[in-house]
Symmetry: C2
Amino acid sequence: MPRQDEGWLEHRITRIDDAEDARLSPYRNVRERDLVGREGRFIAEGKVVLNVLLANAAFAVESLLVLENRLAGLAAQIALCPLDVPVYCVSRAIMDAIAGFPMHRGILAVGRRSAPRSAGQLIGALPSASLVVVLCGISNHDNMGSIFRNAAAFEADCILMDETSCDPLYRKAIRVSVGAALKVPFAREGSIDDLVSILQQAKFDIYALSPSGMESLYTAQPGSRTALLLGTEGEGLPKALMQTLKTVRIPMSEAFDSLNVATASGIALSRFSRFSGI
Amino acid sequence: MPRQDEGWLEHRITRIDDAEDARLSPYRNVRERDLVGREGRFIAEGKVVLNVLLANAAFAVESLLVLENRLAGLAAQIALCPLDVPVYCVSRAIMDAIAGFPMHRGILAVGRRSAPRSAGQLIGALPSASLVVVLCGISNHDNMGSIFRNAAAFEADCILMDETSCDPLYRKAIRVSVGAALKVPFAREGSIDDLVSILQQAKFDIYALSPSGMESLYTAQPGSRTALLLGTEGEGLPKALMQTLKTVRIPMSEAFDSLNVATASGIALSRFSRFSGI
């Protein structure tokens, strides 16, 4: 029963005093390179995100990096980590030297995604009542993270995105999502037309959100299988695609017709989720 | 008719080739110091924000700083500027040296706010049907900017905030607001209790937004004068205050009960604004 032994934490960790130690290389300069060529690996930061990571079997933890003066407060997370996962412990000076900038979070993890499922597999596994988010060309990691956070809050079943959208497992996207990028299943592949086609075959009611949408969000009556399609703030969704879909707008001021795409996703998901009836 | 003269733009601007020129000092290191001790002055960035600034009589423009290779595309904004406002024009190298970081926007302005109105004055001037946003302890400039953007999109009449909230005229807040911080009237003063008291005297229906709110956003029936009260994501609103007010929640997942405060403001404003009936 190691957790009842006061020394278990000290035995569990590996102290490292050299910023050049090769075991720390996955954590080096995380802001700049973000694990380029990373083979399904990603960086998770902070206690809340780590809790989500540890709770999701679709992801494995390869190692932890903990700031020595935060060790006690992170004992619960460390205890949840499989015993074969190394837990490196460093001083503030080493942490900042490795990260390349003042790292406020007391804990980092290198995670690894198991084989991702395809859009077709994700959609095929959904129940008859389901809510899906579809993204086209969302290239900003803050927006991506916020959309995942909103999708988790309103229990969207999954998120599909085209290949021009950015990676939700980018460090900053995970952080902004408060871990939702490690919680909401997603697929990132192909063109938006391909994704729409998969949803149409699965009898989804697809609503494209657009400032020029035909129907108000507050009068739209989505069916039991609903997909909400979001494009970039600048260019929006491809016109040819819009013409083949139902379009919905968030009614707002004509004098300031502008919402951030992540905020718009929150408004639309709140209204389309089962929670709006509660 | 200077605008029909092709040379008007060249005559209108003042070229500066020395990054140390004293006329550029208000623009120096804008990211770090943000005009500390600035006497009502602020920095506005980019064409969209500048358009809002030029359209609002409550603000004056003291000078413009334009990147030379963007000059032609910004001719309309420069033409709208009073003739006694200097328009400084610099190269990319000088711009980056002054700003202290690579400055992507092609235009900056130093603006100045005329004497701000008090919360009492703002509320006293509102019509019988009105929507007010009230902020307590919002200290993150991104969130502040996003809340202003949402307030403008849903035509909130004004924003009141306590003195622990951050300044909406901070450079980044203005930028994130897409200019709404220069559009939506606001007052920043005193305690949240003082602000609530002003609203109660003016017969406002005050709804405090909270994850533990008594009523669902989708069943609440706000009156013609509605105030939406938002607190920080962490600590939320003071408990003693909450007990004296109506509280409203955005219904969402119990497994991921977390929305960014700016997103929450967008969802609640969309629902409480006159636009939800359109």
